[in-house]
């Protein structure tokens, strides 16, 4: 809607100075200014205010950019995508593990799960019977962290396994 009253015009003057007023509204505002001394006065005041806008220190943009870049590089390993000229892609969010395909992460997760299950099976089958007292003494974590199924806080427990059991696990890993 085009500004019509002096109040409308004065309220939109900052948008006009910033070039964010739609073209038609801008033309209506300019026509009004040409005919209204009071609004021209306010326009001059805003122009003087804009001229008094504090200067931005030289080099600030470069300093911000450098710090942001440094921070992002520190957060994640270098990306192969970042070698592409023209469009640099930072190792951020989706590109966090660029050297590892998505299926690789899933496979690793499945392997850990399989390892834990295998360990549980060997323990329950009587192949490994760690002394519970010894486990508690050796493990700095409180007893309540050690679950009956051989897991500590969701991860398989390897402490106390015999050489034979460890070799079985290594075979499962293909090592």
């Amino acid at each position: 809607m085009n500004p019509t009253t002096c109040e409308d015009i004065r309220e939109r003057l900052p948008d006009w100075f910033h070039g964010s007023l739609p073209a038609e509204e801008g033309r209506a505002l300019e026509e009004h200014l040409a005919a209204c001394e009071g609004c021209r006065d306010e326009s001059r005041l805003l122009k003087a205010l804009l001229a008094a806008r504090p200067e931005v220190p030289e080099g600030l943009e470069a300093a911000i950019t450098a710090r942001v870049w440094e921070d992002l590089e520190r957060q994640a390993p270098p990306s192969r995508d970042s070698e592409q000229p023209g469009r640099k892609v930072l190792p951020l969010f989706g590109a966090r593990w660029p050297g590892v395909p998505a299926w690789g992460l899933s496979a690793a997760a499945l392997m850990v799960l399989g390892l834990g299950t295998g360990l549980l099976w060997t323990q329950r089958a009587g192949m490994v019977t760690p002394d519970p007292v010894q486990v508690v003494v050796q493990d700095p974590l409180p007893e309540s962290w050690l679950w009956d199924d051989g897991m500590v806080a969701g991860a398989p427990v390897f402490d106390g396994l015999s050489e034979e059991a460890l070799e079985t696990l290594l075979e499962e890993l293909g090592g």
């Binding site: 964010s20 005041l45 008094a52 504090p54 220190p57 600030l60 943009e61 911000i64 942001v68 640099k88």
Partner: protein
């Protein structure tokens, strides 16, 4: 990471989407576009140039670290300015006082085609306007500077200074009226 020619016309929302995917050029464009406003908002609150520089840097660090969670409910500009204002207010709370800004510390810089005398005159006039602005009550000064210096809407100003859109509008008009009276 300058605002490359391809990015000049790109809306902030597009740049934010690309930045969320890790596009460094898009991040650079967002910095180029908004660092001055971020710095001035921090300066307006802290009234201390070095602190405002630090706040400007910390603001963009926080913004890009948290960009994954940015949903675009407010504009990117309002979002980073809010981060800057909160950072600056946090520093003020820690310090418990305000330092005086030496507004005249930076000497006048002649614009192209301008003589040294003209530059001095312009600088003195600007310093005079800043002194008048500094005399306004805080809310009025914030509303005037955010509206005139940064071109924010009253709704955005309200969000930034923790007041309603209507209160931001009233503060702006009172501030302008007072400045007009002070200028005679």
């Amino acid at each position: 990471m300058k605002d490359s020619s391809a990015n000049v016309a790109a809306p902030d929302a597009d740049l934010v989407s690309r930045a969320q995917e890790g596009d460094a050029q898009a991040m650079g464009s967002l910095i180029a576009r908004h660092h001055a406003s971020v710095y001035r908002v921090a300066l307006g609150i802290l009234r201390e140039e070095e602190g405002a520089r630090d706040v400007a840097q910390d603001t963009f660090l926080k913004a890009f670290r948290g960009l994954e969670g940015f949903r675009g409910e407010a504009s990117f500009k309002t979002w980073v300015l809010t981060i800057a204002a909160n950072e600056a207010r946090g520093i003020l709370r820690k310090k418990g006082r305000r330092k005086e800004l030496n507004l005249e510390a930076a000497g006048p810089v002649a614009a192209p085609g301008e003589t040294a005398e003209e530059a001095l005159g312009r600088s003195e006039e600007a310093a005079g306007v800043r002194r008048l602005l500094a005399e306004l009550p805080e809310k009025q000064r914030e509303a005037v500077t955010l509206r005139v210096f940064e071109g924010l809407s009253f709704r955005e100003i309200g969000a930034l200074i923790d007041s309603s859109e209507g209160a931001a509008r009233v503060n702006y008009h009172h501030g302008i009226k007072r400045l007009r009276e002070m200028l005679g």
